[in-house]
């Protein structure tokens, strides 16, 4: 059976805002597998924040079940819930560091809460400062740090008690692109190093592309699509595909008379094989690349090309079938 670390089942959450009733989450179900980075992508107001806050019960759902490691959080006593929360780290868009505590003091906080003895706290804090590369900032106050450094402290603080799960609430939204990149790299690194399961919410496609294994797209409180990131990107017609690629402007291209304009998406191994070349050779047609790109998503290459195929219509048809046999999904954009 497919094991899950976090499972949300049929979560509903409504709240009142200025007299209006807002349906923040409508029948949301998710399964997050151990060791994966799961992204929830959505616009602001889609319910992402509410969703991630339902996982550690910062907000309690109106109905549905929240299972973490098989444990039903909604059934726990306040004290048991606090112990479960100590096993889940959380990082925030605005870092939420304690201004009255030094960097070391911030990282020590969750350990103090969990009742660690002070000599152990000291050693653990030093270890984490080293992990996030801020050993020289131990006695600085958060106000003296840059945004990227603050988020590193946030990550160190979240990791201090050795959680199995990290919840990330728009952790890079307040950072510039370079800093975002380095914070994402750090998240990816700790995900690998500690086999830490990460559930993150974001409105940035970049984040999903850079580090997520799986994704769910949230629109107006509903999950409209979920699956493996590379699979969804490679599937024409999926929301993620449409968000990932700018639509080809078939009309901006003046086609060669008699030619067929197609779009081909591919993923993984297919990106490495000379499929287009062998197709052209085998069916004796011309395949002209008009537009396209191959990019890396995580460790997998995905890409999409706009091709103009010209040759006898029978041969073009066979060539398209050949592409399908190779696991690609050619779409005809224009046929003369």
């Amino acid at each position: 059976m497919f094991r899950t670390v976090i499972e949300l089942q049929h979560i509903y959450k409504t709240y009142r805002q200025e007299g209006r009733i807002v349906e923040a989450l409508r029948d949301v179900s998710l399964q997050v597998a151990p060791g994966e980075i799961f992204g929830v992508l959505g616009q602001s107001g889609a319910g992402k924040s509410t969703l991630i806050r339902c996982v550690n019960l910062l907000e309690r759902p109106d109905s549905g079940r929240v299972l973490v490691d098989g444990q039903d959080l909604l059934s726990l006593s306040p004290a048991a819930l606090r112990r479960e929360r100590q096993k889940m780290g959380m990082i925030f868009q605005h870092f939420n560091l304690f201004q009255s505590r030094t960097v070391a003091g911030n990282i020590a906080y969750p350990l103090e809460v969990a009742g660690w003895p002070s000599h152990k706290i000291k050693a653990r804090v030093a270890e984490l400062l080293d992990l996030v590369g801020l050993s020289d900032k131990a006695s600085a106050y958060p106000a003296q740090l840059s945004g990227g450094q603050k988020q590193r402290v946030g990550i160190a603080r979240a990791l201090a008690p050795g959680p199995k799960i990290l919840l990330s609430d728009e952790a890079t939204s307040a950072l510039d692109p370079d800093t975002t990149r380095s914070v994402l790299d750090l998240l990816k690194e700790i995900n690998r190093q500690f086999n830490l399961t990460i559930l993150l919410i974001t409105h940035q496609m970049e984040v999903v592309k850079a580090i997520c294994d799986s994704v769910a797209i949230l629109e107006e409180g509903r999950v409209v699509e979920k699956g493996k990131v590379v699979d969804l990107i490679a599937r024409p017609g999926s929301r993620l595909h449409e968000l990932f690629y700018e639509p080809f402007q078939a009309t901006a291209w003046t086609p060669t008379p008699g030619a067929t304009l197609i779009a081909v998406s591919f993923v993984g191994e297919a990106a490495g094989k000379p499929i287009i070349t062998s197709m052209a050779r085998r069916f004796d047609i011309n395949a002209n690349v008009i537009e396209g790109a191959v990019e890396r998503v995580g460790s997998t290459r995905v890409g999409r090309l706009m091709l103009e195929l010209s040759g006898p219509s029978q041969a073009v048809e066979s060539a398209m079938n050949y592409l399908r046999e190779q696991g690609l999904t050619p779409e005809v954009l224009h046929r003369d």
Binding site: R85, N96, R101, P110, P142
Partner: protein, 217 residues
């Protein structure tokens, strides 16, 4: 020492005694009151709307009574606690009763300025309510709490002058008895100058202390 200087010195000591001792009791009462006003409010970490409304109403009622009336109204309470209604020690009771609700509001305001995101972070790390209060709310609000305490002490200094005038002693009593009724302008001016210096001193010390605990700039 001249008689005037001696009288001023004794009155200063009485004023300081009333202010400092009552301040301690006011802190003891005002801090928990302010904390309760925050945590029991809607959306607070220990939501108790009824208790919150009750506390809020008591605070408002006490704060709306003019001090001079309050002092007379609680004479039986003063006698019960101190055994007498005359003297500097007796003056402390009405001072505390008058200033605790004020301090409660000052503390409430300071704690409300703490970024709710910090409380959320603390909850997400599995903190208990007591840990949130003692490790997050109070340390984060400390500079503001210190400034609020200075404000409260300066208020008490002023109220103690009034309390003293009703048989309590202190600088206010001296200024009224000698400076006003006996036209001793030197006593009047001396009292005022000392009060002014005390106010400046408290404010300066409060600002200084608050600055050493401020780390967000």
């Amino acid at each position: 020492m001249t008689d005037v200087a001696k009288a001023l010195w004794i009155a200063t000591q009485e004023t300081l005694y009333m202010t400092v001792v009552s301040s301690l009791f006011v802190l003891l009462g005002g801090l928990p009151l302010g904390i309760l006003l925050v945590v029991t409010d809607r959306g607070g970490i220990w939501e108790k709307p009824l208790l919150n409304q009750l506390l809020g109403s008591v605070v408002n009622v006490l704060r709306s009574i003019p001090f001079i009336i309050l002092m007379v109204a609680i004479v039986p309470l003063t006698r019960l606690i101190v055994g007498t209604t005359i003297g500097t020690t007796a003056a402390i009771v009405p001072l505390v009763v008058a200033a605790v609700p004020f301090m409660g509001r000052v503390v409430e305001q300071s704690l409300r300025e703490v970024d709710p995101g910090l409380v959320e972070a603390a909850i997400s790390m599995g903190s208990s309510n007591w840990q949130i209060i003692s490790k997050v709310l109070i340390p984060e609000a400390l500079p503001s709490l210190i400034r609020g305490t200075a404000l409260m002490m300066i208020n008490l200094l002023g109220l103690s002058a009034m309390a003293g005038a009703i048989g309590g002693g202190g600088l206010g009593d001296l200024a009224v008895k000698y400076g006003y009724y006996r036209y001793r302008t030197d006593v009047m001016l001396g009292s005022l100058v000392i009060l002014l210096v005390l106010v400046q001193l408290i404010q300066w010390a409060g600002d200084k202390l608050a600055a050493t605990f401020t780390h967000n700039k």
